[in-house]
């Protein structure tokens, strides 16, 4: 949009002018609004009588909708018609205000610029933009209004909601009967503005007993969602749990209880708290001590929480360890507890070991961080790193972890491999994949596929000899060749090419190996020995057509071009 300079200036002037006129308090403004509304509703009378009026004229004789009219409308004081008439006299002074010369200095525009103290502060823009301001301000007039009433104190639910929506302070105290309150809530919900819905809910929460509030909200899902989120935000866990309990939302109840553990920093306390999420029996015998851990003080204790669970008969299936919601999630929380319990033991033990400085592994590889609150896989990695050889009986041994948490084979091998490779303990790596069958023969087997093994080894900068061994175990030939090329396992590439009788590839590869190296010799040997090879015959002919040197150069440049 292109604004001419004049437009712009007029815009700013007009906003200044507005600021000038309305340099009063918000409250007063809202009162002004009332009178306008009163007049508006009066307008409806006129409308009813006369549908096709030509020009709407207010009592002061000005066309309805002109700027000065609207200013006076908003400047009016009270809502009653009688007072409205009185106001008219005062309004004249306003129109003279409006005709005051506009300030000419545009130095500090902003000092005149009014913030959004009244709805639609940007109206001022449109004032200017429209060519015919006289025709404005109509839509509100066109709105059908209910019967005329005194607005000065009693706001109807819809007016109250509208005021709230505009961000005005508005007392809700007059909505005392349940019916009024619910009407107000429904009006708010129908407006879709979440802020207003929450405002009404805050009021309802304060003025209704929770049983009534919950009961009514149960049928009003939109409002209910707002209340739940509001309670979450202000951290009213007690009411939230009451609410979930009322609604029978066991899963959300437990999860919201479980969520609290994130706020507990101390690992011991956290562990104890997690225990409250899973163990009912111990909880009961140990109630007093766990109560002190419960973060919501004494008034709402775990006792209530537990009794609720009992009452809901959730606990009939829960006397041992299971949780009141899906068995699966309860198992996860159980695992969480067990894991943290383990970590606390391991951490205490290892910190001691590290401080003592007697254990080689800790001296060589000091721990970078505590293992507390780490995921299971990280814990497994840690124990594979520091406690690999330990007997199954110890808490920190990898095998023990694997058994306790039923870690799948794949996952275990992957993690152990990463840990041992990092330590460059190639023997362990070897042992990880070696299986003995009943005849005593050994065989290499990897549940994750040897191509992954190779990648992990390479990432941990394993020496070529080790890499080579595993690359050659990759089953898929193409993958094998790719990996071997990528990781410069020359022997594997050469052998594979030989097995494939792929002379061309071998030739190409020749340029990659160092000049005069053993590999080059090997390639040359293969190339020359296989001259009579049937498979290679055709390729060989092509090759012979080119002088060796040129071909060599060619492959090199091609390679450089494509492979960088």
């Amino acid at each position: 949009m292109n604004w001419t300079k004049g437009d712009e200036e007029e815009y700013w002037n007009s906003s200044m002018f507005k600021a000038f006129t309305f340099d009063d308090e918000d409250d007063e403004l809202s009162q002004l609004k009332e009178s306008k509304r009163a007049v508006n509703s009066l307008r409806d009378f006129v409308d009813d009588d006369d549908d096709d009026e030509l020009e709407r004229v207010s009592w002061s004789g000005e066309p309805v909708g002109s700027i000065s009219w609207s200013i006076k409308e908003t400047a009016g004081h009270s809502g009653s018609t009688h007072e409205g008439r009185e106001q008219l006299k005062n309004r004249n002074s306003f129109s003279s205000y409006a005709q005051l010369p506009k300030p000419t200095s545009t130095y500090s525009l902003s000092s005149f610029f009014r913030g959004r103290t009244r709805p639609g502060s940007f109206q001022s823009l449109s004032d200017v933009l429209s060519d015919t301001p006289a025709k404005s301000y109509a839509p509100e007039l066109g709105r059908p209004k209910g019967e005329y009433r005194d607005y000065s104190n009693d706001w109807s639910p819809s007016d109250t909601v509208r005021r709230l929506r505009k961000g005005k302070v508005c007392s809700l105290e007059r909505f005392r009967s349940l019916q009024d309150k619910l009407q107000l809530l429904e009006e708010a919900v129908s407006m879709h503005d979440g802020n207003v819905i929450t405002a009404v809910l805050i009021f309802l929460k304060r003025t209704l007993s929770k049983e009534i509030l919950f009961r009514e909200l149960e049928e009003r899902q939109v409002a209910l969602r707002h209340l739940i989120y509001f309670l979450k935000e202000i951290g009213d866990q007690k009411l939230l749990i009451d609410l979930f309990r009322f609604l029978d939302r066991t899963e959300e109840l437990v999860l919201s209880h479980y969520r609290e553990h994130l706020n507990i920093q101390d690992p011991e306390k956290r562990k104890e708290f997690l225990k409250t999420c899973i163990r009912y029996r111990e909880l009961r015998s140990d109630l007093r001590s766990t109560m002190s851990l419960y973060p919501y003080g004494d008034d709402f204790g775990l006792v209530e929480f537990v009794f609720f669970l009992c009452k809901k008969e959730i606990l009939t299936s829960w006397p041992s360890t299971s949780l009141p919601f899906s068995a699966e999630d309860s198992a996860h929380i159980q695992d969480h507890y067990t894991l943290l319990e383990r970590q606390i033991i391991i951490e205490a033990n290892d910190r001691h070991l590290e401080a003592a400085g007697q254990t080689e592994i800790f001296r060589k590889h000091p721990r970078k961080a505590s293992i507390l609150n780490m995921p299971l896989v990280t814990t497994l990695f840690y124990s594979c790193f520091y406690h690999y050889g330990e007997a199954e009986g110890t808490f920190s041994s990898p095998i023990n972890l694997k058994k306790t948490f039923k870690i799948p084979d794949k996952q275990y091998v992957l993690t152990a491999l990463a840990a041992r490779a990092k330590l460059r303990a190639w023997h362990d790596v070897d042992a990880l994949f070696t299986t003995k069958n009943w005849l005593g023969y050994t065989k290499k087997r990897a549940p994750i596929g040897f191509h992954r093994v190779v990648e992990i080894l390479h990432k941990n900068s394993a020496p070529v000899q080790i890499l080579q061994e595993y690359v050659s175990l990759v089953e898929d030939v193409d993958t094998k060749l790719n990996l071997a090329t990528k990781f410069k396992c020359h022997d594997v590439v050469i052998d594979t090419c030989r097995d494939l009788k792929d002379r061309q590839q071998l030739l190409g590869y020749r340029s990659k190996v160092d000049k005069g190296s053993a590999e080059e010799e090997k390639i040359d040997a293969i190339l020359s020995s296989s001259t009579h090879n049937l498979y290679g015959a055709q390729i060989q002919q092509c090759w012979r057509a080119l002088p060796l040197g040129k071909f060599h150069y060619f492959t090199r440049s091609v390679q450089k071009f494509y492979l960088g």
Binding site: G115, L129, E140, R143, L164, G194, L262, I333, P375
Partner: protein, 721 residues
């Protein structure tokens, strides 16, 4: 590259006015607290603030020191404190603690809280409860629209997504309607409205109400923007969850574009310092590559550099007059560039961080006053010779050029942008090859097309087992779930268990969130719902069927992606290679494998000017009640908005007062405002820009925030990383 718009494509309105409005309002608010004051800024507001004001403006209005609103208390000695915050409960507690501490110490100060974009009653309640209600004064800074680019307006409200789509809180709807109202006030009414989604419908209704209440003058204005389209993010999660391969999207995925600018780290700039680059249409090179498929970009940059090199070579033969011409042309650009540069310097200064303006970014380098392209060319030559654009190479190059041509001027910052672009390309390439990007994309495409589901599942499994980024794994799981209408219970269990083991048990909460938002669900045992649903819908009228579908969907929110995809032909049939250099359709933003669902819906509706013929799609989207198309009635002078087609075009009635010509003229307006509620991705923006070029439209994007898959997942994540 950078296809021009059709000659009949309309001009975009000038949105810079929005910035000025916001700035002036802020200044006004600051002046409400005369005298010296310290300003506490919410971290999330800093970048948007950077885009409209700078430190010197704040200083001019007696802002003394700037602080971040953080968890730790700051000791400020000023007598007046001003807080510029988002309306969040935790900010209120922060302020309350500060005020209470002052009270304890017997200190009296003036406090002012400015809420942006609006204040919430819940916040005031907290202030009241904490006993500081009268001690602080509250104000609102209605800064809800930030023009990030010529055609992109962002509300910078990433929390919209979680608040609405997870928690079901409608607090931002009013903000959206206020923004729409502002736009219609400034740029004229929008004659045609369409929308889909529950939130879209609500926003639309509230907005109409607002327009009726506010005696706005819009109706007497000639409309500029012909159509407005509101769309809920949950209509199309799939597109948002895909890896982006369009350049701008890819940069966003890799480096995170924040508020229209990106921080290139040392790995891109090849120096220790990071470089902040503004990415928008002002940057000529960027605007040419932003919408391109990534595979084209690097080649394009090299080509560009080579062209310029030859241009430069030609220039060497210029005589004095030509030289003068050239310099004056160059200077014109330079002025602009210089302004940008100083602006940037201010912005950077404002952040209070140690980032340096681009001019100093490569410290130790003397800037040659020369054609930057030559330098870029040099850099590229180096990179083509197999070396990366390392500082060292450039240094030599700079020195060499300075020696030879000390007198010429140059566009320093554009040089850096290009260098950064090239660096970004290289860095992306490195990352993407490292991450087996190809394999990832392959899996995604398989998921979109619905084949090899087992293979994809085990791919995801492996991702999780290897502890590849938690967000990435989550994203793939969600993609699998949505495209497959939920995971098979067995898969769901095993993936969930492995996920919790790999990334931490507390993600249990994340899974619960994802299920509530319908992003990651478990298939209901037996697929009885579908059969029943379709039977029922055949029997009863559309309206009732919609209700029934909704009832079902609340039980198990079905995404029906496969059916929708078939209906809307989202997976283009490709014979042979899809030429990404000459895109045929919007699918190019996903390498030709998938047309973004959201964009396809918009395209279809715009084509028909209604939802007619799309009833089935709407039903599959579970939106029978929430799709609408309306027409603003210009003739009657009341600015009333007649909802023409609701319930899938069943009840189309003509507005009486609207003449045929009026309708025709309003429909012929080719400027279209697309409102994404819950965020949109750069891929979607690129796709629609492409559509615009094809059809002679211009799209304007209004989004609650620019998003991508990672942001969506993080919003759902309970564990803050």
């Amino acid at each position: 590259m950078a296809f021009p718009h059709r000659p009949d494509a309309p001009e975009l309105p000038d949105f810079s006015m929005l910035k000025r409005l916001a700035r002036d309002q802020l200044i006004y608010l600051l002046e409400q607290l005369p005298g010296k004051k310290d300003l506490f800024i919410e971290p999330d507001l800093m970048s948007p603030l950077d885009r409209i004001a700078n430190v010197s403006i704040l200083k001019q209005h007696e802002v003394d020191k700037l602080y971040k609103v953080e968890n730790k208390l700051v000791l400020s000695s000023n007598e007046q404190l001003c807080f510029l915050v988002r309306p969040r409960i935790k900010n209120m507690y922060y302020i309350a603690n500060l005020v209470k501490a002052d009270k304890l110490a017997g200190r009296t100060r003036k406090y002012k809280v400015i809420f942006s974009p609006q204040k919430f009653y819940a916040c005031e309640m907290v202030l009241e409860e904490e006993g500081i209600y009268g001690d602080v004064s509250c104000d609102e800074w209605a800064f809800s629209l930030l023009p990030l680019d010529v055609d992109l307006l962002s509300m910078e409200l990433p929390e919209f997504f979680r608040d609405y789509f997870l928690e079901g809180d409608q607090r931002w709807i009013n903000t959206v309607t206020q923004a729409l109202h502002l736009l219609s006030t400034l740029y004229g009414p929008f004659p045609n409205s369409y929308g889909i989604g529950r939130c879209a419908k609500m926003s639309y209704e509230l907005w109409r109400k607002l327009e009726e209440e506010e005696e706005s003058e819009t109706k007497s204005r000639r409309p500029e923007i012909g159509h407005i389209f509101l769309l809920d993010r949950d209509m199309d999660f799939v597109t948002a969850l895909c890896s982006q391969v369009v350049y701008e999207g890819l940069v966003d995925d890799t480096f995170r574009i924040k508020c229209g600018s990106v921080d290139f780290g040392p790995e891109v700039t090849s120096s220790e310092k990071s470089l902040k680059v503004l990415l928008n249409a002002d940057d000529k090179v960027f605007s040419e590559i932003r919408n391109e498929h990534f595979s084209n970009v690097f080649g394009f940059l090299s080509q560009k550099a080579r062209n310029l090199q030859s241009q430069y070579d030609r220039r060497r033969g210029m005589d004095i007059k030509q030289m003068k011409n050239f310099v004056s042309q160059e200077l014109k650009g330079l002025k602009q560039e210089h302004r940008l540069l100083s602006l940037r310097r201010c912005q950077l200064g404002m952040r209070g961080e140690v980032t340096v303006p681009p001019a100093d970014a490569a410290k130790g380098l003397y800037f040659p006053r020369r054609d930057p392209w030559l330098l870029v060319g040099g850099g590229l030559l180096w990179s083509q010779m197999g070396k990366s654009t390392s500082t060292f190479c450039l240094k030599i190059f700079f020195l060499w050029t300075i020696k030879r041509h000390p007198s010429r001027t140059s566009n320093v910052s554009s040089l850096f942008v290009i260098l950064a672009d090239i660096g970004a390309c290289e860095s992306i390439m490195k990352k993407k090859t490292k991450q087996d990007f190809q394999e990832l994309i392959k899996t995604e495409h398989a998921l979109l097309e619905g084949f090899n589901i087992r293979e994809s599942t085990s791919y995801i499994e492996e991702h999780i087992d290897r502890q590849v980024s938690p967000i990435e794994s989550l994203r793939l799981m969600c993609l699998l779930s949505i495209t497959e209408n939920g995971l098979i219970p067995k898969d769901y269990r095993s993936l969930k268990t492995q996920y919790l083991q790999s990334y931490g048990p507390e993600h249990l909460l994340t899974f619960s969130n994802l299920r509530r938002a319908g992003l990651l669900t478990e298939q209901a045992p037996g697929d009885t719902l579908t059969a029943m649903e379709s039977k029922v819908s055949k029997l009863v009228t559309d309206k009732a069927a919609g209700k029934i579908t909704d009832a079902f969907s609340s039980l198990a929110k079905r995404s029906n992606f496969r059916a929708i995809s078939k209906k809307l032909n989202l997976i283009p049939r490709v014979d042979g290679e899809y030429d990404l250099k000459v895109p045929r359709d919007m699918a190019y933003v996903f390498s030709g494998a998938y047309v973004p669902l959201s964009c396809r819906i918009i395209e279809q509706v715009l084509e028909r000017r209604s939802w007619q013929g799309l009833e089935e799609v709407v039903r599959l989207l579970n939106c029978s009640e929430y799709s609408f198309a309306g027409m603003w009635c210009g003739g009657c002078g009341w600015g009333c908005h007649l909802v023409l087609v609701c319930q899938c075009g069943a009840e189309a009635t003509d507005p009486t007062d609207m003449t045929k010509e009026d309708r025709a003229s309003s429909e012929s307006l080719r400027l279209i405002l697309v409102v994404f509620l819950g965020g949109c991705t750069f891929s979607e923006i690129s796709a629609l820009r492409f559509l615009g070029r094809e059809k002679g439209y211009r799209f304007i994007f209004l989004t609650t925030a620019v998003t991508n898959s990672a942001r969506l997942m993080e919003a759902m994540s309970e564990v803050k990383t």
